[in-house]
């Protein structure tokens, strides 16, 4: 027992140390561009964890999740840029963005959560598109979002004089801006992981699982399914809002292009590929789907050069091609995701024949 405990502490200490030195090591080995990719990986992990609450825990398929990311990002950009002439500090904007995104989640969820399965999926997809189209067009007659050009010169996050937007001296060390963002994002990611982990084990978390497994039975057990589903939606949305705010502050620029349907799909892929409902799996999915395409992008050209002495397919296309193939192969190989929750694994083994019987069909035709 003692040994186990010490091992655990050792593990924790090792992981912490590794996470802390990671940006410096990457910077040294692969260059600063990769630290930026790590920052984005953390942002996507937060997004994937937020979506995991909706899809993984509560079993509601959401194809427009990026809309909440957009709401958070635009809240930040509007309240801290020359666009409206406002420059509020980020500790006010981030919660405001989360609240607003949560409000939008409720706005979408309240009328639509009685829809089942794929009907909900298409409604959320439509909602995501609506938000993007509005962001794209709200520059006339009154210019609010600056349309397709987006909002630039967004303020960096700062506390007093300490701005994350430029390199800082700490204890005689020069720490670059990307590294500073990395630490901030890491902090938020850990917070999100902590909150979702606690949620999962709570009464609410069990209610979500109950609804996912059998909504009628859950209702019979006295769960207020509508409110609990709405809660999942709002919670997921507000996490999306927070990462959106962080994204805007980090990037310094937002435009509707960053919030396309493809982004929603990407985040969904992280959740499903990693292992729906399992926090560790979702984190893994996020890391893989951010890092792998970058590897393809950087590696595809030289590899072709080396193999055939000529570049046949440009790296950008190669990246998408490999990404698509990877999605297919991984799902065929592990249908429950790379690292499924134990409950899902049991379900998968148990279904077998049962799945054959419940085809969705209406007798209307």
């Amino acid at each position: 027992m003692h040994k186990l405990l010490r091992n655990r502490k050792l593990h924790l200490g090792g992981t912490t140390l590794a996470l802390l030195v990671l940006p410096f090591v990457t910077d040294l080995l692969f260059g600063r561009g990769w630290v930026r990719i790590e920052d984005f990986a953390l942002l996507y992990i937060m997004l994937a964890l937020g979506l995991n609450i909706v899809v993984g825990f509560a079993g509601l398929l959401d194809l427009g999740y990026v809309a909440f990311f957009a709401v958070g990002a635009y809240t930040y950009a509007l309240l801290a840029s020359p666009q409206l002439g406002l420059h509020l500090p980020f500790w006010i904007i981030l919660p405001a963005g989360a609240l607003l995104a949560g409000f939008f989640g409720a706005l979408l969820g309240a009328p639509t959560l009685k829809l089942r399965g794929d009907y909900l999926a298409i409604v959320t997809l439509g909602f995501g598109e609506i938000i993007r189209i509005f962001l794209n067009n709200l520059n006339a007659p009154v210019n609010i979002t600056n349309g397709a050009q987006g909002i630039s010169q967004v303020d960096a996050m700062r506390i007093g004089d300490f701005s994350l937007g430029r390199n800082q001296e700490l204890f005689g060390f020069a720490i670059p801006s990307v590294h500073l963002h990395y630490y901030l994002f890491l902090l938020f990611t850990l917070l999100v992981i902590f909150v979702t982990a606690r949620l999962q084990d709570s009464r609410i978390g069990r209610a979500w699982v109950a609804i996912r497994e059998d909504e009628v039975a859950a209702e019979a057990m006295g769960i207020n399914t509508r409110n609990i589903k709405l809660l999942a939606f709002v919670m997921g949305a507000s996490f999306g809002g927070i990462s959106g705010g962080l994204f805007a502050g980090f990037q310094g620029f937002v435009s509707p292009e960053s919030f396309s349907l493809m982004e929603s799909i990407m985040i969904l892929c992280m959740v499903v590929l990693g292992g729906m409902g399992n926090i560790a799996g979702v984190v893994l999915g996020g890391i893989i789907l951010v890092v792998l395409p970058e590897v393809f992008r950087n590696g595809a050209g030289p590899l072709q050069q080396w193999l055939f002495g000529k570049v046949f397919i440009d790296p950008e296309s190669m990246r998408m091609l490999m990404f698509g193939v990877a999605l297919i192969v991984v799902m065929l190989w592990r249908p429950a995701g790379l690292w499924p929750s134990t409950r899902r694994q049991r379900e998968l083994e148990a279904t077998g024949d049962a799945a054959e019987q419940d085809t969705v069909y209406d007798s209307g035709r």
Partner: protein, 307 residues
Amino acid sequence: MEIFLQQLINGLVQGSVYALVALGYTMVYGILGLINFAHGEVVMVGAMVALMSINAMLGSAFPPAIILPVALFAAIFACMLLGYSIERIAYRPLRHAPRLAPLITAIGVSIVLQTLAMIIWGREYHAFPQLFPNQSHNFGGAVINDVQLAIIIIALLVMSMLMLLVHRTRLGRAMRAVAENQSAAILMGININQVISITFMLGSALAAIAGIMVSANYGVVHYYMGFMLGLKAFTAAVLGGIGNLRGAMLGGVLLGLIESLGAGYIGTLTGGFMGSNYQDAFAFLVLIGVLIFRPSGLLGERVADRA
């Protein structure tokens, strides 16, 4: 009034195309309960194959009356093959997997097809040649041309043939049986794998026809054209009640009409605040509105519990 009539015609043309593509979504959904995300790309491949065959034959001595049917059959054949392979590779192995797994492979197939098309045919817009003189007819102040007329007529023809197939033939009965209950269908001696393959091929054939229609109507082909079209068609299928053939047709035509009328009148309705650039948002807003009041679409009757 002329504007109204014109938008009505435009909406009908666009709606016919949506309806054909929506049928492909709804047939697959009816039988497998699966959103075939790659279906929009099949439309694009159909258009590309037709374009290639037309361009290959244009220089030769063949008259247009032969070129078009040959290109049509080439596109249909290629799409059927593609639909069959997609089902075989990406969906069949996952028939008993968690239900989001085939959705992800579908997305994967869609990305692969799109990227391959981009690599093969490039990023540029290709002009779709005009084979026949395209005359415009005046119709109560509005204009309709031959291509648009042909689209509406062919779509009607194809859809009635499909209805006949599903309701009047042995194969159609087998399809309905598989959709109703797979296990019972097996016990009745139906080869369900074969029926599912045929369903995919039928849907893909409709997609090929739709692909040619779109390209002939707009005169351009592009590797990205299938994405938004597929999305809209899927929306149409849901609007009508997914899994229901008549629903898909109704939803398709309705969506086309809503879009074109919405684009024509949204400016006056909102006092100039919103223009036709909100057209896409309009379609989705209507969808959400309809689903709030009829949660299983316009003609859908029942959706099993399957969250």
